[in-house]
Symmetry: C2
Subunit: 257 residues, 2 copies
């Protein structure tokens, strides 16, 4: 099995050593160096609710579903509420100050053009979101055009950095090989994202502890790792945390707590 460092060196030839502790070992010359930032790791004892993104993204959701979601999020003081961008104004009206607003772009298929993704990012950032979960360019990555996949993340990451929006990159691991998962983590980190995330919840499979562990190993402690897709009870959430996740996406917040 090819090591993470060998894969990193294949795509990003360089000799400078890594300063941030990722298993890629070489410096990726990230758009934003996170070496001096605090670790993005779960602190044992922290309430599980504080790392949950309370999520409703289904096509048939209505204002009423989003109101119920925000009430739950406020009650348990979750990390954020994650909704499709139509609902951002409603969410911003309903959430208490401590719960962040989060939306998704290039979602869920990960096959929009770089330009479309860039413009969609602009529109949702202008709506005032705190966090943004973008699906990476799966189409480009799986077709071998990883440079386009990198450019797509970059064009969003720049806007997020300028506007203090926390960017998570959804890999959609169910459609990726081990090498593609590793490469995707490297691309997200290099582009300047703050988190890597496993799944949309609309693919053929969701988060697995194995993929969380791999993603954490690749990115090291300075980036966050979010587990999402199919996490419906406390045991699953805990196994993701054990594997290295410091954020959990979940629709069934109450069941999970």
């Amino acid at each position: 099995m090819t090591s993470i460092q060998e894969i990193a060196s294949k795509y990003f030839p360089g000799t400078e050593p890594c300063r941030c502790g990722g298993a890629h070992s070489i410096c990726l010359n990230c758009a934003k160096c996170r070496a001096d930032e605090p670790d993005e790791l779960y602190t044992p004892g922290d309430p599980i609710a504080s790392i949950i993104d309370a999520t409703v993204l289904k096509a048939d959701a209505t204002d009423d579903d989003i109101r119920a979601l925000c009430a739950t999020a406020n009650e348990h003081d979750t990390a954020s509420v994650c909704v499709n961008s139509h609902f951002v104004p409603l969410v911003k009206k309903l959430l208490t100050d401590s719960v962040k607003s989060c939306t998704v772009i290039n979602f869920p298929l990960g096959a929009n053009s770089r330009k479309a993704v860039k413009k969609e990012a602009k529109a949702v950032i202008e709506a005032g979101i705190d966090e943004l979960d973008m699906v990476q360019n799966i189409a480009a990555l799986r077709s071998g055009d990883w440079q386009m996949a990198l450019e797509t993340i970059k064009s969003v990451a720049i806007q997020c950095l300028e506007n203090s929006v926390l960017l998570k990159v959804i890999l959609e691991t169910c459609y990726l090989s081990r090498e593609q998962i590793i490469l995707s983590c490297l691309l997200a980190k290099k582009a300047g994202a703050k988190f890597v995330k496993t799944s949309t919840g609309f693919g053929s499979a969701g988060a697995t502890a194995e993929n969380i562990a791999l993603m954490r190993e690749v990115v090291g402690p300075k980036l966050g790792v979010k587990a999402s897709g199919g996490i419906r009870d406390k045991a699953s959430a805990l196994s993701m945390i054990d594997a290295g996740a410091n954020r959990i996406g979940a629709s069934s917040v109450t069941a999970l707590l």
Copy 2:
């Protein structure tokens, strides 16, 4: 059962008679009046292939899948090839002149903000597409905000009219009541779209002959009606045509012919 005309009058009070033959009967004051345009109906005897949008929209599609799709489309001379926007440049390179390029926006969840949809439309129109299938704002419509649903279509329709791009509005009928289907057809027509379309293929159900007949009745002969979602053989395609469809979206083009 409330008649189509009663529903039309409820949302768009007016007394001017319809000039284009829709069962709404009243004039909708459409952004583009189509009364003097030729009918958008299937002409018996026309090859089925000529009304097929050969479609691949799945998240795990690669360049190779799109190359195969274009080869099939060129061979059978389909109406168009419909792909996610990442693949538009590839498609435009591969298609013969008679096969149109088509992409999708606000897809497949129909829950993006109006601004995000408007910007996404701009990006894909600039990429030079011939046809655009947009999912309507399902989230707004199902939450009772049909004015926002109308505005969302309008903001795309204006751009399509200016750039001679044929606009189809995907209703996603599986999540709509009869009244919501009728209203959605009225909104698409009023906003200046050229086609109404049943489904994304990602919802809980696809096209039914019953919904096609209803949609055709509402819009009349001057708008097109596209059946999509779950149409995998010739018998299904023919039943959609019988019910009033003049365009078919299909992934399994060869099986269908």
